[in-house]
């Protein structure tokens, strides 16, 4: 039996009403895009919102929000504010050309610091953009952060759905409530007004049905999403009246409904 140091305490965020993880089993499904645009759509609805990029190895938030990195922490306090939301990312403090080569415990420490040592202030929603997979970052946040729930992002095709199922299983194992599944890149609306289902369609809804979790909505594909992401101005901020932005506005409503429905089912403290 091996003695160890004191236990890592559970993080308390009393000034943040809802902490929502945006996750996927697979990379490349547009999880960071969904997290960024969901955060912006929530802010546009009048909420106070923070976005924490929990992808330590491959942060996307700096590019998506047009933040030249690394920032000078002497003159620019963290978290940064862009488009009315508070932002934190490992990319703000590490030069873009430098790789973060860390083992799990360092990732754990960085995520804890993001949550506990930054002045997030009072927020209605803290959206966490998780890295793909079911590894250290997911485990740290589900064990120690007061996650209200998780949104699982998938694309319609089977190869993505298989991995989304793994993400669902992980959150279920660690009893983080699943708010539901979002199908990203679900369809394309052409200039002719017709709907084209490029990567098939309906997989997210089917998976939600099989897993017994809510289907939160589908987000159409639009080439301007990539253009906006690379240009540092997310779609919801730049084209607020586009079908994509309208889909995010609808997503805000379904996410809100789920958050209000699940309430808080924390485990009881042990009376010693």
């Amino acid at each position: 039996m091996q003695p160890h140091g004191g236990p890592a305490p559970k993080i308390s965020l009393p000034n943040i009403k809802y902490v929502v993880a945006v996750a996927s089993g697979k990379g490349g499904v547009g999880k960071s895009t969904v997290a960024a645009n969901l955060a912006l759509a929530l802010a546009r609805s009048g909420a106070k919102v923070g976005l924490m990029d929990a992808d330590i190895y491959g942060p996307s938030v700096p590019i998506m929000f047009g933040v030249p990195c690394p920032i000078d922490q002497q003159t620019t306090p963290l978290p940064l504010e862009r488009y009315g939301i508070k932002l934190m990312s490992m990319g703000f403090v590490v030069p873009p050309e430098r790789a973060v080569i860390w083992r799990g415990p360092m990732v754990d420490r960085a995520l804890r610091q993001f949550l506990t040592e930054l002045p997030w202030g009072t927020l209605d929603y803290l959206i966490m953009d998780l890295p793909p997979g079911t590894g250290d970052a997911q485990l740290t946040l589900s064990q120690h952060a007061p996650l209200t729930g998780a949104v699982i992002v998938t694309t319609p095709q089977d190869v993505s759905l298989v991995d989304a199922r793994k993400g669902l299983a992980m959150f279920s194992e660690v009893r983080v409530p699943i708010l539901g599944i979002v199908e990203n890149m679900s369809y394309f609306v052409g200039d002719d007004g017709k709907r084209y289902e490029i990567f098939r369609h309906g997989g997210g809804k089917k998976l939600a049905g099989l897993a017994g979790v809510p289907f939160l909505g589908d987000i159409p594909i639009d080439p301007r999403v990539a253009e906006c992401g690379d240009g540092g101005e997310p779609m919801v901020a730049r084209y607020p009246d586009s079908p994509v932005s309208k889909a995010y506005a609808a997503l805000v409503n379904t996410v809100r409904e789920q958050l209000e429905a699940i309430g808080g089912a924390e485990l009881p403290e042990v009376q010693m």
């Binding site: 039996m1 091996q2 003695p3 160890h4 140091g5 004191g6 236990p7 305490p9 559970k10 589900s142 064990q143 120690h144 996650l147 299983a169 279920s172 194992e173 660690v174 009893r175 983080v176 089912a265 924390e266 485990l267 009881p268 403290e269 042990v270 009376q271 010693m272």
Partner: protein, 104 residues
């Protein structure tokens, strides 16, 4: 997959832990049984080794073990901080339920 029931009361009662569950089940498990069932890799390995009759006890093994704290781990488990500093075992709800014997 996670179970539908969760503990609603967790209380230390002398040498045992009392647990009341959301499905109405009430039970208890001794702290000794919990330590013997510690799921951490170090303890598992110890249990799998053949018993050594000539093993010399360390000083901290001569003092009766007691739990100092039992913090929550997310929404799915607890860990026990023992008086000898050991705290690496994460007891999932399913494991605790399995160890929990009905109260007389």
């Amino acid at each position: 997959m996670s179970e539908p029931w969760i503990p609603i009361v967790m209380r230390r009662d002398g040498d045992r832990l009392i647990m009341e569950w959301s499905d109405g089940f009430k039970g208890a498990v001794t702290w000794k049984a919990l330590r013997d069932a510690c799921p951490c890799a170090g303890c598992k390995e110890e249990r799998e080794k053949p018993a050594d009759p000539f093993r010399i006890l360390k000083p901290n093994e001569l003092v009766p073990l007691a739990p100092n704290a039992m913090p929550r781990v997310g929404r799915y488990a607890y860990k026990i901080v023992w008086s000898d500093g050991h705290d690496s075992g994460i007891f999932t709800l399913a494991h605790l339920r399995e160890l929990c014997k009905p109260l007389e």
